[in-house]
């Protein structure tokens, strides 16, 4: 089954979630409302809600319960994207902070805060404290992950372990928690919950690695932004860490990263990407991503054979091979 068919199968409940998302960010405050709605309308795969729904299908599926975790999870994801943009926004104005860009940044920050708070507020519709505990813990880890990313900017001495720990916090945990909360909100037992959590965690790791690979080898058209945005930001990803292990390429890569860190204009990164592509960095990253996909699928072994299980496996394969 293709991804589009899975979405078609879940269509009516995804629409319910879409409406709840819109309702949740409705605010008497015009600017907040517009900023949040703009973000919402920009779309997205709604991957976290889909994982909630699919996990929920293994238990007592009730959309009126599941929506109270699906919507907060998507909101938390959205809020983290807004905060990611806060400083980048000023950056595009060549480092000059005008009053206008200053306001934009503050507005982005408070829009993020607002969406975070709305997410948690909506989750309180469910009276199970475990759910609030898991959600707030995921948010703690995500903010640590963001800080880690900043701390390791342009750090070419970082280990693969540093990278993995970072993407675990930044990306994989929230996807794991999506599966976990779908399980809890549909009354599944501890064993099934653990399996679904493990599935989500491994899919999330693979997803982020693939994302980082695509940022290097995708085209501008596929990505919707010029390739190499990670390295321009200073974010050293897995293919780069692997490539730096090649003795022949290491010193020229270090030179290029040094240049990029000093002046990250668009044309500066071409040489970097060319050198990188000649190493086995991308391939090794893809291999690790595939191993996570295998682990994700293996985590489902003891769950009953069903349409839902098949869907989760298909999504895992999609994540492993997605070209954009």
């Amino acid at each position: 089954m293709k991804l589009i068919d899975i979405y078609a199968r879940l269509k009516s409940d995804i629409q319910i979630i879409e409406k709840e998302l819109e309702k949740s960010i409705t605010s008497e405050h015009r600017l907040l409302h517009d900023a949040s709605l703009h973000l919402l309308k920009a779309g997205g795969k709604r991957l976290r809600p889909v994982f909630v729904l699919l996990a929920g299908e293994f238990g007592h599926y009730d959309i009126d319960q599941l929506k109270y975790v699906a919507v907060p999870l998507e909101l938390i994801h959205m809020a983290s994207l807004v905060h990611d943009d806060v400083i980048d926004n000023a950056d595009t104005r060549r480092g000059k902070l005008t009053v206008k860009s200053k306001w934009d940044n503050r507005i982005a920050m408070y829009t993020g805060d607002y969406i975070f708070a709305k997410a948690l507020h909506m989750a309180t519709e469910l009276k199970n404290p475990l759910i609030h505990q898991i959600l707030s813990k995921a948010m703690v880890q995500m903010s640590i992950g963001e800080m880690e990313q900043i701390r390791f900017f342009y750090n070419t001495e970082q280990r693969i372990y540093d990278y993995l720990l970072r993407i675990r916090r930044k990306t994989a945990l929230l996807i794991a928690v999506s599966c976990q909360l779908g399980a809890i909100a549909s009354g599944l037992g501890h064993a099934e919950m653990r399996m679904l959590y493990a599935y989500g965690y491994n899919v999330g790791m693979a997803f982020q690695i693939r994302d980082d690979v695509l940022d290097i080898c995708g085209t501008e058209k596929e990505l919707g932004k010029p390739p190499g945005s990670d390295i321009r930001q200073g974010n050293i990803t897995l293919p780069v860490i692997y490539a730096l292990q090649n003795e022949s390429a290491r010193s020229s890569l270090l030179d290029e990263i040094q240049k990029i860190s000093e002046n990250a204009k668009r044309q500066d990164i071409r040489t970097f990407i060319d050198i990188l592509k000649e190493t086995d960095g991308l391939q090794k990253a893809e291999e690790l991503s595939s191993r996570y996909i295998d682990k994700a699928i293996a985590a489902l072994d003891d769950l009953p054979k069903s349409k839902t299980k098949k869907n989760l496996i298909d999504i895992a394969y999609f994540v492993g091979n997605r070209s954009h």
Copy 2:
């Protein structure tokens, strides 16, 4: 009883809260840990925890329950201060965004996110969903209040109502919620909870109005920062709104605000403050603050006479007259 005596009376439990605060922001992440701890050590009056404890004294006082609302409330307050500083930080560097200042800003933003998340996570120790609902709702309102402040920057047409709604969200609600959650966590009934909430709300309104008065008429020594920081940021406060209602002063005040908005250097605001002081703006603001104090004290009327009630009244009077 002076404020210092109230703190002395609550000393041992304030120390417990202080330790829990420190414990709560302890992180395996060094940078986050240092940034949060620095903030914590900078001190503060811990006003929100004190209100929690005092409200709790009307019910079944249990510090092991109360600390799980007192600490989150102080953390939410701290996180909002960090986010307030995010852009100001860049500002002090004369609008030029260096790589260093960019990182500082991102770190401030994620430190705030981290502290918010830690606050909510700690509150989940209490299994009462009403508490999480009240906390997250307060956070929603606070972020709207911050946005409102930005929207009204340099807006000289704003009404007193706009100002009051803004400080209600930014300041008064969290203080009201401190009293309310202290009441809930000590098992008080709905009636007492409402009274304590009303007390906190009115004290919070008075507190913010006094703060805005002091920002204009306080000295640098008293304030720990040069006076007039509100107007330099573009924040038009109650004394200014009242002053603008004076026909004789209005046009010269508008001129000065225009100049400040274009170039908010330190010396530029002296004339503004001088003109303002000649109007009845400060006095009228003080009068409104006093009315809120009266309402705060009246809200306690039906609570039993006790040392605690006396303390709350003393705090209200202190807030009404504080000189710094």
